[in-house]
């Protein structure tokens, strides 16, 4: 029902946009994207060595019309649609990545429709960015832009000299596209349960997600505050009986997050700080083993240019569990115990060569508490202005098969992307 409503809305939006726009600009790309597992192992529910075989044709349309309000006022529309073929499943489909209308009104900007929103300062670590993400895409070597998924809703921005805000209202819950046992090796205690169902929050008024960002610059500091009220985007698991369930239900517990970010220049580089308090509203005392406890999450990042066309950055990230004793007490026997204070270090290095047409990059996660890692080396070459190719790898590992990255160990893969843009 919801899907139909949304789809009709986009059709309406598109036709409406075309009718009011004077000129339409269109661009896009054709792309092939493959990824195969180098471990020679195949997850029990998957087929073959390939994680991904994706052929894609993207079309972007945009147009604008002057509005009668505001000094720069102009209404715009934008749509980005992907026609794709999943070569592994021999399926084709249409994906509306983004489709929205923009309308400025004096100090306000309204954006309605499907849109990508990115908040926070973390580099591939997200604290105050609570918008949906596609982890499958990220772990299987799709281009970085596919890590973010569009959300359907309304965003209202307000700008002034004193402070600026963004408010996002999201009536249709969208979960992360998290890896599942169908295509990844994972720690899955319920692998053999065949009856699984997903219960997403209904689209009703009290379930409308709200995300607010308030920001301004204060001398050298870029300061933002964030509030979020909604749901976890990765599900919790509810078995019908324990320890041998016949049916499990994935559900998305309620979550609120309060946080801030701070950024400024320091010693020829950029310093970033981010904090968020995850208020797990359905398990505030941490006694429910099915629902994550409340957490304090933070990161400190520093980015700097080493020499010409070379930049490096590092982050220290931590998440501190509230009510750890209650968590330990309620944890079902046989389940792996999470640390009270999980920590992650990341490192990124990027070197541009040959007049910035060749890019060598490395990104690494390492957790000293979980003792696991995830490395992403990549070579990207701009063959011409329109054609680029990327080759890279996703390499996972760790001491245990139950930690966040360690469970992905057997999914090491190499990927290739070839894209022609026009």
């Amino acid at each position: 029902m919801n899907k139909k409503v949304i789809f009709s809305f986009f059709i309406f939006l598109f036709l409406f946009s075309i009718s009011f726009s004077r000129e339409i600009e269109w661009h896009g790309f054709v792309q092939t994207n493959y990824s195969f597992r180098t471990t020679g192992l195949v997850p029990p529910l998957a087929q073959g060595d390939f994680l991904l075989g994706d052929h894609r044709f993207q079309l972007k349309f945009s147009g604008s019309e002057k509005s009668e309000f505001g000094s720069f006022g102009e209404a715009k529309f934008f749509a980005k649609t992907d026609f794709f073929e999943n070569a592994l499943k021999k399926e084709t489909g249409l994906e509306i990545r983004e489709a929205y209308l923009d309308y400025p009104l004096k100090a306000f900007d309204f954006r309605i429709g499907r849109q990508i929103i990115t908040w926070g300062l973390g580099d591939l670590l997200f604290i105050n960015d609570l918008f949906p993400k596609d982890w499958q895409a990220f772990f299987s070597g799709r281009p970085m832009e596919y890590l973010k998924l569009g959300v359907d809703g309304l965003r209202i921005s307000f700008s002034s000299d004193i402070f600026s805000t963004e408010l996002a209202l999201l009536p249709f819950f969208e979960s992360d596209n998290y890896p599942t046992s169908e295509n990844f090796f994972l720690f899955d205690p319920f692998l053999n349960v065949s009856f699984k169902q997903i219960q997403k929050p209904d689209s009703k008024f009290e379930n409308v997600e709200e995300a607010l960002r308030l920001y301004r610059t204060l001398s050298n500091f870029e300061l933002s505050f964030y509030l979020y009220r909604g749901f976890y985007r990765t599900p919790s698991i509810l078995p019908d009986s324990f320890p041998t369930p016949s049916k499990i239900t994935y559900f998305f517990p309620e979550l609120s997050v309060y946080g801030f970010t701070l950024q400024r220049d320091l010693l020829n580089g950029i310093l970033s700080l981010e904090y968020g308090y995850y208020d797990s509203r359905q398990d505030r005392r941490g006694e429910d083993p099915l629902i994550p406890n409340s957490f304090s999450k933070f990161l400190i990042g520093y980015q700097r240019q080493g020499w010409t066309d070379f930049t490096y950055s590092g982050q220290y990230y931590g998440e501190y569990m509230k009510d750890y004793k209650n968590y330990q007490k309620s944890l079902p026997p046989g389940f792996p115990e999470q640390d009270k204070f999980r920590q992650v270090l990341t490192f990124r290095a990027t070197q541009l060569l040959k007049y910035q047409t060749l890019k060598l990059s490395f990104f690494g996660f390492y957790s000293p508490t979980d003792k696991d890692y995830f490395f992403i080396p990549e070579v990207n070459y701009r063959i011409t202005d329109n054609l680029w190719v990327a080759l890279g790898g996703n390499l996972f590992g760790g001491e245990k098969r139950t930690t966040f990255l360690g469970q992905l160990d057997k999914n090491d893969n190499l990927y290739s992307i070839l894209r022609y843009e026009f």
Partner: protein, 275 residues
Amino acid sequence: MLKKYFLTLGLFVIFSPSVLWGQEKFTAPEVAAKYQGYFFYPGKDFKVLVSMQLIEKGGQERIRELTMLRKNSPKGLEQKYFIYFHQPADVRGMSFMVYKYPKKDDDRWLFMPALNLVKRIAAKDKRSSFVGSDFTYEDVSGRDLEEDDFSILREEKISDFGSMGQAGDCYVLKSVPKDPKSADYSYRLSWIDKESFLPLKEEYYDLKGELYKIFSAEELKQIQGFWTVTKRRMQNVKTGHQTLVSFKDIQYNLGMEENLFTERYLKNPPSKWIK
């Protein structure tokens, strides 16, 4: 104290009445200050459509097309830049904002529309190539006067500049970085036109003293009273790579608002300004 005096002098020289140019004799720092003022600071604000051809030794060409907006601070030498990319396809729709300060590193922000992400960029090094061209950031937005020692080597007529119907009477200004590590070149020679105070030619010498980069102004136009280099070339004689730049739709003093250079418009550039 000395620095302050120098800055004041610099500003005074830039904005001094122009009637007496022909007759006056200038010292090397005065020429350098005028060069900086007329090349990097003309007008209160400035809008241009920039087309760049990046040409490899073998002849392969790449194109960069962008709209650049610049606004000078009413007070000092600070500037704000807004750059919107039209070409090539992989950067189309990206916008780039720079707050330039004379005494410290720039602040730079890049907006990536595919992720709807504003990313602050570390910018210690002004010598990085600008969008993969032979121009560095410094070549695009200028270098602090205080970083170099200046001397006038001679006065000279540039003969191959006659095709433009101008005399091409020049000061040959030598700039030597005070801190050798602050630049790629050990010294630079600039042929500065006595009338417009724009560089008609520049030669960059590397740390071994060998010529490696040549700038040449190939077309000058007077627009709203401001002399402007509308075609320029930067040639790397060592690699054979070169970049040709042409300026179109040039406009000065449009009355750009200060809030144009904020996150709001970085994320959503008004087509009034970028088309």
